[in-house]
Symmetry: C2
Subunit: 429 residues, 2 copies
């Protein structure tokens, strides 16, 4: 953990180092992934069979390529009642929030008599990567699948690794609840490639979303343009802006809730009271020791944790927050709005003392798939728009063309495109 | 040119070949571009100086790194009056259409007492690539720059190659009109890299858009995630759906207006009358011979042109159009709406006999930067949203947390994330 004070003479330089530190894997996975993508594109199912045997240690022809929707339904029915209610509440709230994102079509005739508009349509098919093992989160499946279904995607295919053939019943239950149409037992870069290119068995999709390890992220990055993808994802981060009137245990738990995700996750506290910062740090040590995720959380906090002590929260925190452009920003003050109004770059903001980031991970409604690694400067959380596209349209009659056509002719000529000019000129005669 | 009839026994196979034919460069530009990006990232201005001397044959320190806004204004003032009026009309109409795209923020309290919302903000800075030489289109500058300015981008930087130091006054005039803030004389992958990473002289931006050659397109692709980019662009295409009640000269000009862009461009005609198709083909040959762009248009039509004769336009054309997912679709019939209603995948649609695609390139208002190479299946034309991002926000009070918090606790436990659970549990006590 690093402690910085905004009054330190080297503060600017140290803060800049934190801003520019990319916690992302330097390992050159790019070539390995490129080879896997090429194999799947050329060899199709055969490559999936081989790579699944090698990485996940099971034979697709024996274990079955697909997990049936019946099995997903059974997994849902078999859930403990309270857990099922929690999952239902999450799904219902996520659905309601995302329905509010559905875009409105445009269609009007302007004063020149030109009809102009835009029609939004869902993509035909979407693919969703669901990690296996520890990171197989049912909440993550809901957060990706529900926006696709709200958008109107007719075919939603999940790929997920099932190491040694084992499946995670919670993920199947969530797939049932979200209305997933297909679940394939393939993972890694090969699973992403199968969705993008299609094989004899798995039909291709138009958009691929969902979290994964460095190989999955790199596969999505390389396939951007072949299909639509959501965003390049890196390790998660939280920025907590808190005054000294918070319970230090609460703030410590918030910082740890990010740290426990991944040794590369980053938790940052900005506060205006050095004594409060010290108490939070102590509380964090105590709480962390008791967590089952202690090892991961400890490593993240030790390596990437930061506490910044400033003189004036409202004056200094927003500028620092905008530089960090963090995935999650908590503002734990009495008047969070005063700081929020100055925040330009953040994935999601959690306002006030009773809004721990974890409610946003599960049940608040907005998407928990958010831009990481300072990408909130230019990127947004996952939404129904990631599963839709817009077709613009234009309609002119003779009178409208007479009004605006001559300008098009002039511009086409000066750009050296005579057929463009001619296509308008002929209609003006 | 290929002629297909939907009644041919091998129609399905031949059509599938056209759909799957990727007219994109196979040349391995990826490594060259990767090397250039790395050089600019590490060496900064020095790399720009060297690469500009090598590729554009001028010395940045002599010719000047920047073109001044004063020079842009002078270029605008020096325009021929009719041309200036045409450019003004284009800018005004593009601005009006894109203002209609500005998204609306959300902020409401739901029945559980949870405040939920989303705030849209412009990115701080955007970069725009403007090609040099033949493809330096002022219309293209307007189509990229105006949406950025409508979005509210405060700093808009153009990079453009000036081979041998020469600049295109039309592009400078358009830069003035669109309100561009900086114009840099660097091009190619190095220009894109300078915008993405920043150098001592050029400050980095958050989003990069704009057309370019294969090196520019690959640079943008590789930098996706470091910055936001619009979309991977490939050669342009048009699909004209026309019955035999059209003037064949008009349809021929429309097909040529796409073909004259690029030898890899593709023009496709779907009609229900083989005799009409033959007349259009003859008209195309005659018109093409007279064009100053004859060589390019001829090559494109010979290599990639397609005429498809179907039995019933309204019944067959929409399904074919959806498979092609073309950048531009013209529907030249009396009732274009009947076909348009069935089209799911297209970049932009031009309705009726008096709407040549070229009006959309210049003055209609909607963006002419559109998804190519079947990407209309999942991508949209450029819009103000490409220069904005959304921050979601959540606010709970004690009562709201008591309602939905327990579900978050249950889900956090089952996902093996105890600090997540604790951050909520502590506040529920």
């Amino acid at each position: 953990m690093q402690l910085l004070r905004s009054t330190d003479p080297d503060f600017a330089a140290r803060f800049a180092r934190i801003v520019n530190d990319r916690r992302e894997s330097d390992a050159d996975v790019s070539r390995v992934v490129g080879d896997i993508l090429a194999r799947v594109r050329i060899e199709g199912d055969g490559a999936l069979r081989d790579l699944t045997a090698r990485f996940d240690k099971h034979d697709l022809d024996n274990s079955g390529w697909q997990i049936s929707l019946k099995d997903c339904k059974a997994a849902y029915k078999a859930l403990d009642k309270d857990l099922r209610k929690a999952l239902d509440l999450a799904a219902e709230r996520i659905r309601a929030y995302h329905e509010g994102q559905l875009p409105v079509d445009r269609d009007h005739v302007d004063e020149a008599g030109v009809r102009l508009g835009a029609k939004w349509r869902a993509v035909d098919a979407a693919g969703l990567y669901v990690p296996g093992g520890r990171a197989a989160y049912p909440s993550s499946l809901l957060m990706n699948a529900i926006p696709a279904k709200v958008a109107g995607v007719e075919r939603l295919a999940v790929v997920t690794p099932t190491p040694l053939g084992e499946v995670n019943p919670l993920v199947l239950a969530a797939a049932h609840l979200a209305g997933v149409d297909e679940v394939w037992r393939v993972g890694g870069a090969q699973g992403v490639a199968a969705l993008a290119y299609g094989t004899a068995t798995i039909k291709p999709v138009d958009v691929i979303t969902g979290p994964g390890n460095a190989f999955v992220a790199e596969a999505k990055r390389q396939l951007f343009g072949v299909v639509g993808i959501d965003m390049v994802a890196g390790p998660s981060e939280i920025l907590v802006i808190a005054d000294n009137r918070n319970d230090p245990d609460w703030i410590a738990a918030d910082l740890l809730s990010q740290a426990e995700h991944d040794p590369s996750a980053q938790s940052i506290l900005i506060t205006d009271d050095a004594a409060f910062a010290a108490v939070v740090e102590d509380a964090l040590d105590v709480t962390c020791a008791d967590l089952s995720t202690n090892r991961v959380a400890r490593e993240s906090w030790d390596d990437f944790g930061v506490i910044i002590v400033v003189q004036d929260l409202a004056k200094e925190a927003p500028a620092l927050a905008n530089r960090l452009a963090a995935e999650h920003v908590e503002i734990a003050t009495d008047d969070p709005e005063a700081i929020f109004a100055q925040i330009r770059h953040a994935g999601s903001v959690f306002l006030g003392r009773h809004t721990p980031e974890a409610v946003g991970d599960y049940v608040a409604g907005p998407n928990h798939v958010l831009p990481t690694g300072r990408r909130a400067r230019f990127a947004s959380g996952l939404s129904v728009l990631d599963f839709m596209k817009r077709t613009s349209f234009i309609q002119l009659d003779e009178a409208a063309l007479a009004r605006i056509g001559p300008a098009a002719v002039a511009l086409a000529h000066v750009e050296g495109l005579p057929a463009h000019a001619k296509s308008v000129e002929l209609r003006l005669k």
